[in-house]
Structure formats: structure tokens, C-alpha cells
Symmetry: D4
Subunit: 230 residues, 8 copies
């Protein structure tokens, strides 16, 4: 079995679930990734790659790298052409601390790749509540919020009591001691007494963006249902 | 300090975050709950109570119990009058197995309390995929899906690859051995390779319903933004 | 070896560490507890008992129960005479939710037993931030704060960013799913990005009160050192 | 005690349990491994080495390396001559994602070393169910299936509801956040509601292959028992 | 939605995966179970129920209980008529200790329900190796072995080095301290250095029996393939 | 969004909670840290940096490094001018073993940065109780004690029974096997039967120092309250 | 298979490993235990039963109960005649707190059953070090020490630095919060920096006594070897 | 405070507890270790260093390295002169697999440093029981056994049922998946149904040797007590 048999690209995914195929690069070798890019290129398709370490990025074929827009902070690569932006930003991405910015950027670039603008708010954690409150009106005006927070992840709880917007929290692995790895942040958000907060996997900025896009899709379904005679 | 000082009801919550106050009964004594209901009654307010065990329900004041609509399966109580239903069902609640029905019912009653209809699909887990596929078109037509699943919780992953709808998964504590308590179900959903699935706490049907209502609110914000001149 | 050999009361403790002997009743039989009370009575000493379940309390010798001030909410018993109160309250006890009141009461009664007044603030959790802010000035005026919080325990983090007072957090076992048992609350507080918060064991209202009394002792040492010529 | 006293090769193993001796290289030094290969060579025996990192492989004696067939993807080495293939493939090896291929290859090479052909199916995970269903008939026709899956490992559950074949699942350590290390994949498979799935240790492609060979042995015992007069 | 909508019986399961539908009773109410039995009776079908506590069994409708063969040791119920036995025993069920017998019996009755005889060996754990060795020849003669063991679960490891038969281990929750709940037994088996042992969930005698039946099915597929011209 | 938007310095923190802003360097890039130092320099402010690895320190701008007092043992950097010392040492820092010194030094330098002297006691763990007892009088004379201990962390328990001073324990990640990462040390301190010990996160010397400063603040509040007419 | 086939008593154990057969009653039914006692009685053998709850003891056959010496504190039963005592006490059993006495008693009775005297020291935990030091000379004079301690289990560490005797620690499940279940006590002892402390399972007073008897046996082997010409 | 204040050597330890001071090098810097060796040299004392990585060994002062006997396999260093051997070997060290040899060597060298001979048995794990049985008589003749085993650690259980000698088990961190880190090995030994096995921390060959030396001391105490008139 050749490398080409080791993957099956899912180009029908957008029709099925409204989301583009993306490649999780962490568990794959440069040889496998190059073969995947080859297949995408042959079809004229674009691809988003997540968790692509700088070393692995550097090991890709020169011809592929030339077509890649790479971001070292979020370790994401956009191969080919992203979709054009679809209008004004309706999604806020809130990073509790400066150290949570890489995860926030992964979400931002995943959205941008599929044509969605987003507004980033950084370092608004609750240890200094004034940093949050001075931006609260801006944040509250956005219907969908992605909130990246590590350590004790108290920000989603506090936001959950202040805004009516939809909330997708991303726990991050930022922290040490009991916070190391992000399990504490994850569990704290799940245990929040502020109602209606949802969560994705630790450091999963990509998944949070996908969830936001599912919700935009749902909103379109609701809007078209509302305009139908019932 | 009297019992009346031990709680502060948040009647301004709907204006602030679009969700009604609800009482988590598990950690409270019948004396505390009766005092809370007293305060609500004095104000003419309704209340939703979650995690109210049958024994605790039976220990409440007779006058309060007469005004309560109690459901033993989901251990929820609606005190006073719920909001009128706001139109056709746009939310599906999918229970992977028969044992997941209590959690699904908690979500259903939370939605109903605030005026939202929902459609329940039970016992459509992936061990017999035909049970899911025969209902798939109905499920796919609903923009928002709450999915309750215990044990290995493979259902959200499979659904996530088949529908474009928004997905809120509720892991349940159904199961034994490594499944006991629901941590395996929770982690399996978080680790899902189907993109864009969000999660709430184990057995938290109430929270899943609140998340759905946040999203309906976001959809209304998006709709009104879309109809504004930009 | 008789029951009388199974315990050794530490009546010299106040001189050594400034704290009275107390009896952890959870792991002891009524026979053992009665023998301990007998020994205390013989010496004319008072005793605080913690974790004394109502059933165990009811199983104690009638003569002992007559000398006990029992609180079923906090499961504490004061045997004999507590110390007289030493002046106005300098310690605040903040309970995030109504369900955290039993732990707060354990701290309050431990302090009272040794002659310290305290002020209780209940149901001021961050899910409705206004409940906290309307009491903030009162809370801020107290130099020492004990904060009991379960679930995600975001309250200590938020308070830690708002007040300069000393903070002793007590995670509580209130909650279900990932919050069950209190480990999430404990870890969230330890991981807090608000600096200078200290923690005691889950549900350990007694220990939090002891820590507060150690700090009052330290303050007296500092005050007398300050008044000495250096 | 010399290095030669630090190991005892089990050349009688095939007669006893039907499986060849194999060397787990991860915890052994190149000096120890060279001594083991020396002993095998002296006896004219072949050996399979698992978990042999490229660096450790490169550190082995040149004379040994010349007799080794090394696979960097699966980190396995075959020293000497494997057994000839025993007929057509009866075993399927199914890798849920491209990142699970190394574990699948370890199983494939363990089988090949003992003379068993196998058929590999890669990237057929349930996030895009069509990738599985288009190969389902081929998979169903094989009596024994090894299924390697990481992250949420939903594939064995889905397959368990679709095929009657014997199923040996291998959870893999592919994934991040709650999936890191493979415990989530392991527990999800153990908790599966599809009946009759068995599991081996995380990333243990070698063990899955051995289990398959035990079952082929059992089938031969059953077949010879069936042909005997009872 | 009525109780009848809360379950969907999978009567096509035998054709699809070779295993009969079974009902996991632990998470279901007597009302739900009675409705399920009603549906099975209406169709003339038999059913196996697992994890049916004596109290729940006693709460079932009298008419249903009359048709049930109940075993309190294994908490299994056979409703209706099991299949006739299909020939001599080819499956051994080995219980390491007396306390593991309930799990072994669950496996035995699951097999019997589908027409398979099995031979039980009890209290042959490795703390007294002679108890195992005196039965070893009998055990070795059976092609398929189910091994139930709790605490440190050393028995599967030792057996794995002594027999060539197929091995399905069932860790049990027998034990206290670090053994409580069965996780230690499970992990010890997964970590075994004896090659080719497979595992099912803790206390899952039912699943072990299903795995054994899958393997018997695989053996039949192999046998019929062997008799075909290749 | 530029790097300058990724952080918001909290220069009002001393007024609010009595503690200076500090920068947790572990999750930040040299680019981010240089931007932060730039902003502080522009305002004429000093800054404490914690968890600054030697490599990251070396990667900072030369102009910044010239203004930094760096300590490789504790990985802390003081940028600009620390506050002048405020009088004699009232705080003891006790390191159970030599390996706990880095954490003790982090606490010492955090205190020094804000003008507080401290006295360090090293290698006084309980395995050789004489090492503790020969320093006990010195230790007992200090009103506030920070105790850093790894492995089994028995030192805080023993000290807690010997001194009346306030106790802030810092579990350290020193150790291997079950002690690795510091969870055992943390839990042992939390479970201590010596009353009134408080804890901060593993290896959090910075947080212990902040807690000590909160308590000094509380003592000043108590002292001024005591001198007021009540 | 009858109940009599569910167990195999190991009467040859004393000859093989120097320890009498004992019955772990927790996982066995009264029917099974009665059958075991029957078999022992038939052979004229004595038996020790551990973990025999009062309810289960009361459910045994009256004829058996008459021959049992039952201790409700330690839940142990001695059936038949224990061995006569073999001389003065050489073994100390040290219980850190009053709540650890049941585990200490299990060890004491296991030793007594096989003819070994022991000396019990109760409530000598390190929270009040004087309680330990006043008994230290007595303790130090005993060559073998069993130390039962729960919560933070600091006592074995402290003793390990003070005495040269052999130390077998038994962590107990006494405690709440992070101490619940005994894992913290177990890990703290394993992580102790006092060298040469050994551990048995949580609450395993029986196992500690068996370890002590193994060591007495080893001492006899050493003594007889010393008296031989080498 | 200088480096010389960061440690306090415990030269009185042999008189107090019969064991020489030893230095745990893992958490110490070469600067600290050199200072410790300096202090020992100044006093004419020898020292054992454990967990000294080759890199750290190479970084020590040349003058110190010349006086060190270093073993890279066990990462132990003997500084100065070990004690002369005290007679024939009475201690067996049994390594279950080749990968467990480093831990066994740490025990062997710790014993040798204090003058005790030991006999090493390697690769006698239970996966091939004949490897154990062919050495069993030799092993059984030694009164004290240290048993190092990783993965499932079934060897101590099996040995515990075969020999009467004293057993000190050392779980090792050898293994992957659920075995990684050694927790499974540790728990399996603690849960063993073979009575009287004691355990030390994972990979703690040093501690096992110290435990053995405590027992030899206890045997001397017992022997001298036996020869006294009682």
C-alpha cells in the first residue's frame, strides 16, 4: 500500500455538513502531508492545515510551501485560496490572557479561511475586571462569542452572567501545576454556574470556529424557516 | 442570619442574558427551597427547579406542591406558569439510548418552561445504525440539535459527520466500569474528529437547553442585523 | 487496650499553636466520642466536634447531648462553653451559592467557639455579578475573607482582583458531573490568575477558620513587633 | 553479572503458546539489544523487535543492521528471515485515520513476520461515514478485524454494529487535549454499546496481531475438533 | 411521547452481527422494561436482560416475571425461550477467585441463552499456583477462554504464557483500596507482557461472551473459506 | 491586530489590591515580552517577570536585558527598580530540601521586589527532625511562614503542630514516581491534620509571596481598626 | 456447578509461604462463606475471615457463628482455634489517629490468630508531636513496626527519620476531600523522603500483619544461616 | 545566603536509623552537588548519589569525578570508599524483565555501598513461567527478596504464592500506554491477592535496598532479644 492509499480526502464535506475539509497535521509525516497537498492541488482545491509545527512546515516540498500562507503563532497553514469575506464581523473571539492568543488566532484563521470575519479581544481576563468591563459593550453587541481561557478559566463564567450572546468556550493548556495541560480550565468551564456555556476540546480553536460556523448555518436555517409560511 | 438571607433571586436575569432564573435543588434543604418558592410567589414569579429528588419534592410545603408541575423522570419542577409556546419546534433532542431519556427530558422541560417546543428522538444510538438512519431526514431538518449520549457516546461523532445543524452534546452518566460517572462519554465527545461539536457538563440537560436558547437569541440578533442597512 | 487508650487529647494545643483542640467525628464511633467527651468533662474542658452526623449525634449519651449546642446544617457540636466574643467582626465569610452555606456555617461556628465574630455573605456568586457588587464595599472593609465556593469556584478569582484583603478559599463539593466531589473547584482556585489566594481542603470550613485565627495571631505578633524599638 | 545474564530468550514459546518470541526494544540499551541479537544469531533464530526508535536502530552493530529489515513508520525490525506467507489474507486491519497508520503497520508486520497476510484499510473513520461504507463489503468479508483508532475511537463502535466478524480494537495515542495519550480512545472502546468488541493496550499493534493469531489457532482447534467423532 | 417511543428493539441484529438483542436494565425503570418485554412478547421474541437488580426484577409485571428465568448471582434474566445447545463445550470460563463468580456466571448465561455450552473453572488464581496447574490440561484443551479476575488480575498474564488458546479477559471490580472499581485489574491486564490477551470492560461478562461468539462466527467463516477452492 | 493589542497592563493593580502587576512569561513569546517591557518603560514602570527561562531571557532585546536583574535559579527577572526595603524581616521562607530552593527563591525575590525582607531556611525537612528543631526558635519568632516542600510534603504538617504563625505552604514538583509533578505534595498538605495550613498552586512561590503580602495588608487594616474608636 | 465448586481452600499455604489461609469476605455471599466454613470444619481447620460486615456475620449459619470470635471494630472473624502465643511482643502497631484504630485492630488480630503478640500505640500523630515523642522509646525498642495513618500520613515519614526498626506503613481511607479513599495517604508514604519505608494497600491491616510475619520468618532464616558454618 | 547554606548533611543518620546519608541528585544543580561533595570531603565522609544523569555527572568538578565510581545504567555514583562487604549474600534482587535491570542495579549498588552483598536474577517474568521456576530454588533460599517489575507486575504476586521470604516489590516505569509511568505496576502489586507483599515508590531501587537494610537490622534486634533472658 502506497502513501496515497493512507488518506481519503472528504471534498464532499461542505455539501454535507457545511464545513470544509481540514488536515490535522500533528500525527502525520511530511511525506504524508505532501501527498495530501498533491491530491488537493490536482483537484484545484484549497486546504486548511492545523497543528503544523514550524519544523514540519519547513520540511514540506518547496512547491507546496510557496502556495501556503503560514502562521507560526497559531501553527496553521492555508494552502491555496481562502474564500472571500462574507460581510461584517458577527463573531467575537475573546482571549483571557496574552498567552491564550495562539488558540484565539487558530479560531480566527479557521473562520477567515471559510470567509468569516471576526473581532479579537485580548487580555481581558477577570483578575482585573476593568479590562473586561471597558470592552463589554463591544463584546455584547456580537451575537456569537468564542472565549479562550486557561488556568482557572473564570472568564467564560463571568461573561456568561453578563451577555446573552451564544458562548463557545475553548479551554487552553496555559498554566502550570494543577493547571498544566488544561484539564482544570476545561472542568471549570463545564462546572460553571452561568447557564448555557458550551465547550470544545482543550486548545481546540479550530473546533470552536467550526461550532460557530454550524451556528451561523443554523441561523440561516431559522431565518429561512421564519420567512416560510408555517 | 435567617434562611431568607441565604439566597438572592436573580429576577433581572432574563433582561441581562435572556434566560430565566432557575434553582439547582440538589444542594439545598427543603427549608431553603420553600423559602425560595415563598419569595418567588410573593413576587408573582414562576421558577424552574432542577435536580429535585422525589423525596425532597414530597418534603416541600403542601401549598407549594399544589402549584408545582413535577416530573419524576427528569426530576424537574415547574413552579407557577411556564411561558406560552412560541411556534413550531426548531430544536431536536436526540437520546442515544433509552437510559438517556431522563437527561433528554430535563432539556425538553427547560425549553418548554421558556416557551420553546422541541422534538424528541429516542434510542437511535450507533450500535444499530439503521435506527439512526431511518430518522435522519427528520433530524437533519432541525437547525439545532441536543444530543444526549452515555457510555462511549459515539452518536454525536456520527451525527457530526452527517448533519450541518448546530450540535450541543450532553454526555450522560449512564454506564458501568470505565463508563461510570460519564467522564468517558464527555471525553469521547470532546475528542471527536467530527468538527464543530460543543459539549456541556455530564447529565446537564438544563445547560444544553440554555445553550440552545442562547443560540436562538444569537439567531435573532443576526437576523435583525441582516435586515439593517450596513 | 480499652477505648480510653485509643485517644490522647491535646489540651496544650492553645499554648503551642494558638488553636483549641477539636474532634473530627467522622471516623469515630459513638463509643469513642462519648469516651472523649467524658475525658474533656473530667477536666472541665470545652470541645468542638466537626463532621458529627445527626444520627451519630443522636447516639451519644444523653448526659453529653444535654451539654452540646448542635447545628445540623454544619454538622458541628460545641460541647461545654465557648469563649466570649472578643470584639467587632473583622472576618467576612462569603458563600458563593446557597448550597455553600453549610461549609460557611462550619467556619462561622469554629470562629465563634474561639471567640471571634464573623459576617456572613450568602449567594453572591459571579453568575449574577450584581449580587457581588452590591455588597462589595462591605466585603472590602473586612481585612480577612473566607470564601466558600463549589462548581467552577470563579468567585475567589473575581474577588482576588477586586479586594486587597487576605483571602482563604474553601472549595466545596457542591455540584455534579465534573464538579462532583469538589476537585474542580479546588483546582480552579489553585490555578487562579488573581494573585495571593490561598486554599484549604474541600469542604474544610473548620480549617479555613483556623487559618484565619493563625493570621489574627500573626497580626498581633506584627503589631507588638511594630510597637517595639527595632 | 554480564549483559548476557540480563536476558533469557524464550525459544520454546511457539510450542507453548503458538507465538514467536519478540523483543520490546523501548526499555533496552543498544548494548543489551546487540547481545540479544547475538544470542539469536548463534542459534540461527529470527527475531521481531518492536518500539525500536530510529536512533537506537542506528546505534546497533553494523553486522546486525545488515540482517535487519527495518520500518521507520512502525518502528519494527525483523532480524533474520520471517516465515513464508500461509495463504490468502483473512485478517483486515482498519485504520480510522491517516495518523493511525503506524500502529496498523506494526500489526501488519507482526502478522507478516509469522506468515500471515493482512489487508489494510486506511482513513475510514466515522467523521465521513461514506469513507467506511464504500469499503464495508470488503471489510465484512474478512473474519478477523483489527481496528486502530485514536481520539474518540468511534469507529469500533460503528463497525461493531455493522459486521459479525471478530473485532480486536487498538486505541491509539493520536490526539491532543483530553485525547492525549490514548486513554479516552481506550475507555470509549471499552464502554462501547456495540457488543463483543475486545481491546488491547494503547498503540499495541503488536498485541492485536498476537491476539489475531491466537484466534486463528483457536479456529484450527475448533476445526479439528469438529472433524473428530464426538 | 409515550414510553413506547423511548426504545427501538433491534430484532435484525442476529442477521447483521450474529448476536441477539439484549437489554441493559441498569439505567431503565421497571415501567420502561415492562414496555420492552411487552413489545418482545407481542413479536414472540425472547430477550436477555443484564444488570437487573433483584428489586427491579421484583417490580416487573407478574405476567412478565412468570416467563423469566432469573439468576440473582449474575443479575441476568432470560425472558422467553433460549436457543437449544449447539454441541459440546468449546469455551472455558475461568474465575480467578470465588468473588469473581458472578461475572463468570453472566458470561455463562449469555452463552447459554444463545445455545453455547461452557465449562466453568472457579478459584484458580495465582496466589496458590497449584490450584491453576492441577486444572491446566483441561483448560488448555478448550480453544476459547474467558478469564474473570479482579484485584491485581495476574491470572490472565500467567495463563497467557501457558496456553495457546484465545483469551478474553474480564477485569472485575472485586477488591478495595487501589483495587476498588476494577481499574487496576483492567490496566494490569492491558499492560500484560504475555502477548495476545484481549480485554472487555470491567465486570462485563456479557461482552466477553459476545466476543467469544464473534470468534466462533469467525472460525465458521474461516472453515468455510478453507473448504472453498481459492 | 498588532502585538501591542495582545496585552493590557494593569498599572492600577497596587491601588486596587495592594500588589504590583507581574508578567507570567511561560506562555509568551520574546516578541510579546519585549512589547510589554517597551510599554512599561514608556510609562517609567518597573515589572516582575516570573517563569522566564534562560533561553527566553537571552532572546530579549539587548536594551531590555541591560535593565533586568535576572536570577536563573528562580527564573525571575526584575525589570527596572524594585521598591526599597520596608524594615526588618517578618516573613520566613522554609525550604524542606535543597531541591526546593528555586521555589523558595521565587518567593523571596517577589517579596524583595515589593520591598519586603524575608529570611530563608533551607534543608530542614522532617526526615532528619533535628535539622528542623535546631532552627525552630528562629522560625517560630516570625509571624508569617512560607513553606516549600515536595515529595510527601510532611514538613508543613509538622510545623503546623509546632508554631502558631501563619502558614502558607507551597507544594513543589520535586520528586519522581507518585511524587512527580507535585500533586502528592499538594494533596498531602491539603489533607494535613494540623489545623490552619493554607496552600497555593504547585511551584507557585510567586503566589505564596503575594498571599503573604495580602496578610501584611490585612494586619495593617487590623492595626488601624484597633487604634480607631469603635 | 454447585457452591462447593466455587472455592478451593489452600490448606498447604503455611508449608509453602508460612502464612495461614484467610478468607476475604467482602465479595462473597453468606451462602458461599457458610460453604467455606463447612469445608474448613470438615477438615478440623481454623480460618481467619477479613472484611466481614456485621450484617453478613449475622447472616451466617448459627452453628458457624457459635464457633466464631467476631470483632465488629475490625470486621474480622476467627473461626475455630487460633494458634497459641509464641512469646513476648516484638511487633508494634502504631495508629496515627483514633480513626485509624480499626485498621490497626485488623493487623493485631491477624497476628494474634497466628500466635504473634503485638503492642498497640494509638493517637500519636504528628499534629501534636509530643504525643509521639512521649512514647518514642517504647516504639523504638520494637524491631518491627506497623504504622496505620490516613489523611496526609505524615507519621511514617517522621518515624522513618527517628527509628531504625523495620517499617510497614498502612495508609487508611480516613479523611475527606482530597484525602477521601486513602490515595493521598498512600502516595504521601510512597513519596516519603525518609528512606526504607514499605507500604501495603489502603486499609490493608491484614496484609501488613502478613508482611510482618514474612519478616519474622526471614529473621529466623537469617539466624539459622548465621549459626551455620559458612 | 550562599550555596553552602542550601543543604545540611545528616552525618548522624547511621546512628539514628542505621542508614547512611544519600543525595538525591535529580533536583539539584551541579553547583549544589559540588558544594555537597566538598562538605563531605572536608569531613572525610563517603556519599551515595542517586538519579545522577550522565550529563550532570560530566558537569561535576574534575577533582570530584576522580573520586566517584559512576554507573550509567543505574545513574548512581559512589563518592569515596564504600563499606567492606559483611559476608555472604542474603538478599536476592529479582528483575522481571531486561528493562527492569537499571532499577535492580540501583538497589544492588545501594546495598553494596553499605557493605551488603546481593544476588541478581534477571528476566524471570511470568510470561514464560519456566524462566522463573528454573531459578526458584535459588530464589527461595534467600531470606530477603527485592522484586523489580514493570508493566502489569505480575511477578511479585506469583512469587508471593511460592516463597516464604520477605518481599519488597519495586514497581518500575517500564511500559507504554496504560503502563506508562509505572502506576499500573504499583497498583497491581498493592492489589495483589498474595499476602504480605510490601511496596516502595516507582523506580525506587534505592528505597527497596534501604528497606532491606532496615529488616536486616530488625533481624539483628530479634536475634539479640532471643539470646537475652526474657
Amino acid at each position: 500500500m502506497s502513501v496515497g492509499d493512507e488518506f481519503v480526502l472528504d471534498f464532499a464535506r461542505p455539501e454535507r455538513i457545511g464545513l470544509e475539509e481540514a488536515i490535522y497535521a500533528a500525527g502525520k509525516s511530511p511525506v504524508q502531508i505532501d501527498a495530501i497537498l498533491e491530491a488537493a492541488a490536482a483537484r484545484g482545491a484549497s486546504l486548511l492545515l492545523t497543528r503544523l509545527d514550524p519544523d514540519k512546515h519547513a520540511a514540506l516540498a518547496e512547491a507546496h510551501r510557496r502556495r501556503i500562507d503560514y502562521c507560526g503563532v497559531s501553527r496553521t497553514a492555508i494552502f491555496g485560496t481562502p474564500r472571500p469575506l462574507r460581510g461584517p464581523s458577527r463573531i467575537g473571539i475573546v482571549a483571557a490572557g496574552t498567552s491564550d492568543v495562539p488558540v484565539a488566532r487558530e479560531a480566527e484563521r479557521t473562520l477567515a479561511y471559510q470567509g468569516h470575519a471576526a473581532t479579537l479581544f485580548a487580555d481581558v481576563g477577570v483578575a482585573g475586571l476593568w479590562r473586561l468591563t471597558r470592552r463589554l459593550e463591544e463584546i455584547r453587541a456580537l451575537p456569537v462569542l468564542i472565549v479562550a481561557a486557561g488556568m482557572d478559566a473564570a472568564l467564560p463564567s463571568v461573561l456568561g452572567g453578563l451577555v446573552a450572546s451564544a458562548l463557545i468556550a475553548v479551554p487552553t493548556s496555559v498554566g502550570y501545576g494543577v493547571a498544566e495541560g488544561g484539564r482544570t480550565a476545561l472542568d471549570a468551564i463545564l462546572a460553571s454556574c452561568a447557564p448555557g456555556i458550551t465547550v470544545v476540546n482543550i486548545d481546540n480553536g479550530y473546533g470552536a470556529a467550526c461550532a460557530a460556523m454550524r451556528w451561523l448555518h443554523a441561523a440561516r436555517m431559522l431565518a429561512s424557516a421564519a420567512s416560510e409560511p408555517t
